[in-house]
């Protein structure tokens, strides 16, 4: 197999990944021992994902606080997006990332008439593109979605 030098072994993906005691340009965040940063993640509120929508072209974004519509430059207004959507792609991560322990599932979910958001999956399984899923809540601030049962 490849490699013979330290760090090229599979153990390279096994550590915490954080350069402990080494201040860098990267902000690892409080969850993994860094300082607190403002939370940039989409917010889930009473069954809806908070975001903005363009008042002219209706472009939806989960990112709030943006100065104008990034597509047509018109004003944006607060919007509540439905929590259901269609999986664009998904993966199961098999390495530790920050405080997340493997395995954990991630997916890009295209919310119905809304933006594409990154979600954690309630179950660590790969959902094929096109699978219907619904955001059911949050875990440590991350959106969590589960496969929707066929009705």
């Amino acid at each position: 197999m490849s490699g013979g030098t330290p760090g090229t072994s599979e153990a390279a993906f096994g550590g915490s990944g954080l350069g402990v005691g080494r201040p860098t340009k990267r902000r690892p965040g409080a969850a993994v021992g860094g300082l607190e940063v403002a939370d940039p993640r989409p917010v889930f509120d009473e069954g809806a994902v908070l975001g903005v929508r363009c008042t002219a072209c209706r472009y939806p974004a989960a990112q709030r606080g943006i100065p104008w519509c990034p597509v047509c430059y018109a004003a944006v207004e607060a919007e509540r997006f439905p929590a259901a959507g269609t999986v664009w792609s998904s993966t199961v991560v098999a390495i530790r990332v920050g405080e997340r322990r493997p395995p954990f599932g991630l997916a890009y979910l295209d919310l119905d008439d809304g933006p594409r958001v990154l979600v954690h999956l309630a179950e660590p399984e790969v959902l094929r593109s096109g699978t219907r899923a619904r955001i059911t809540g949050t875990d440590r601030g991350d959106l969590v979605a589960a496969r929707e049962e066929q009705s």
């Binding site: 664009w88 098999a94 990332v97 594409r116 990154l118």
Partner: protein, 378 residues
């Protein structure tokens, strides 16, 4: 307008060198490039440095040891495309006559920053949700598998090809042995469907290039095109997987500027941080139609003795990927190939070469930046 030329290149070894000063990696690369260009340090009119993690001030500490004081100098951070972005600025500066000779440097020392995969950036919406870079590429790969029925063996073939190439690269990080397709697939899962041997290693290294105007030297390489684009929205409207569109934008500009078609390229170095990256990049560059890029490695088209060898250096998968040190290493490999000085790695047809570097990781954008450059031997 001046015709920009590549006068010389150099690199350090690539690997894990936590015991070395970051500057020493750069000095090794810069000394080789300056010697290769046949110039004196005093001929350098400006310095452009590409680095992601610095450390801040590294450019000045590098400069201090080289005796090139007072010249215009700046550092560019464009994720993995940092040093190709630095190169692009040098090319444009020479083209416009702002400088006659620019020293381009690229460096990162990852071994003193991270003990494994890069820690996601907590100020990024997706980084804060613990999306690691292999996870981002896995989400590309998973979509691509669903859409086009690409097999695990096709993905693994890219790693096998590049790691075989790396066996003949004395400066590559992973040059001891090359795995089989079965071994690639049997290595442990990182993020489905990407296994460990489909991911580039954590690396340290530096590269350098000297870009100048045409000085009538037959050994200089003609920079036929250099295109740099930043990211655009990647969202619910995007049909292509993440990253594809940014490479396409840069490629279209570069081919138009050079007046060439993808079929005219003899040898390529492209951004294979993960196996899926090479496949998607080659589609975006036009070497294969959408959904067919996965056939290029298994068919032999992109092997060293194939019609269009890709990553003869071993690529990021084998040489290693010290972010800012990658673009300049890609440029160096293409320079050695085009001059017929790549030793055991030498490809047969080597008149026109292409380098592509795509840097990304900011949520909701199809890349942070992408650079495509086309060079030719005279």
């Amino acid at each position: 307008m001046n015709q920009p030329m590549l006068w010389g290149v150099g690199t350090s070894d690539y690997g894990l060198f936590p015991e070395r000063r970051v500057e020493s990696l750069v000095w090794e690369a810069a000394a080789e490039a300056i010697r290769d260009a046949g110039i004196s340090p005093r001929d350098v009119d400006a310095i452009v440095v590409g680095s992601v993690f610095g450390p801040p001030g590294v450019a000045t500490r590098v400069q201090r040891g080289m005796g090139i004081p007072g010249v215009p100098m700046w550092t560019i951070e464009n994720a993995c495309a940092s040093s190709t972005s630095a190169y692009h600025e040098a090319v444009e500066a020479v083209r416009l006559g702002r400088f006659g000779c620019v020293l381009v440097l690229g460096v990162d020392q990852m071994s003193t920053l991270f003990s494994g995969a890069i820690v996601p950036e907590a100020t990024d919406p997706e980084g804060a949700s613990s999306l690691p870079l292999p996870g981002l590429y896995a989400l590309q790969a998973a979509r691509y598998v669903d859409e086009f029925g690409v097999t695990p063996e096709q993905l693994a073939a890219v790693a096998v090809k590049n790691k075989r190439n790396g066996l003949d690269n004395p400066r590559a990080q992973l040059r001891n042995s090359a795995p089989t397709v079965e071994e690639v697939l049997a290595s442990r899962m990182i993020a489905e469907p990407l296994t460990f041997l489909q991911c580039c290693p954590t690396s340290d290294g530096a590269g350098a290039a000297v870009v100048g105007a045409d000085r009538g030297n037959r050994d200089d390489l003609r920079i036929e095109a250099s295109a740099m684009v930043s990211g655009a929205l990647w969202d619910h409207r995007s049909d292509d997987v993440w990253g594809h569109a940014s490479v396409t934008r840069a490629a279209e500009r570069a081919f138009a500027q050079a007046g060439r078609t993808p079929g005219e390229i003899d040898v390529l170095e492209v951004h294979d941080a993960f196996t899926i990256g090479e496949i998607l990049t080659l589609e975006a560059l036009g070497l294969a139609p959408r959904g067919k890029g996965a056939e290029l490695a298994p068919s032999g088209h992109t092997t060293r003795d194939g019609a269009q060898p890709v990553n003869p250096s071993g690529g990021l998968l084998s040489r290693g990927h010290p972010l800012g040190g990658t673009g300049t290493a890609q440029i160096a490999e293409i320079a050695w190939q085009l001059r017929g000085r790549a030793g055991a790695r030498q490809v047969q047809r080597h008149r026109v070469g292409l380098v592509e570097t795509m840097g990304g990781g900011a949520a909701g954008m199809d890349g942070n930046a992408c650079v495509v450059t086309i060079l030719s031997a005279q």
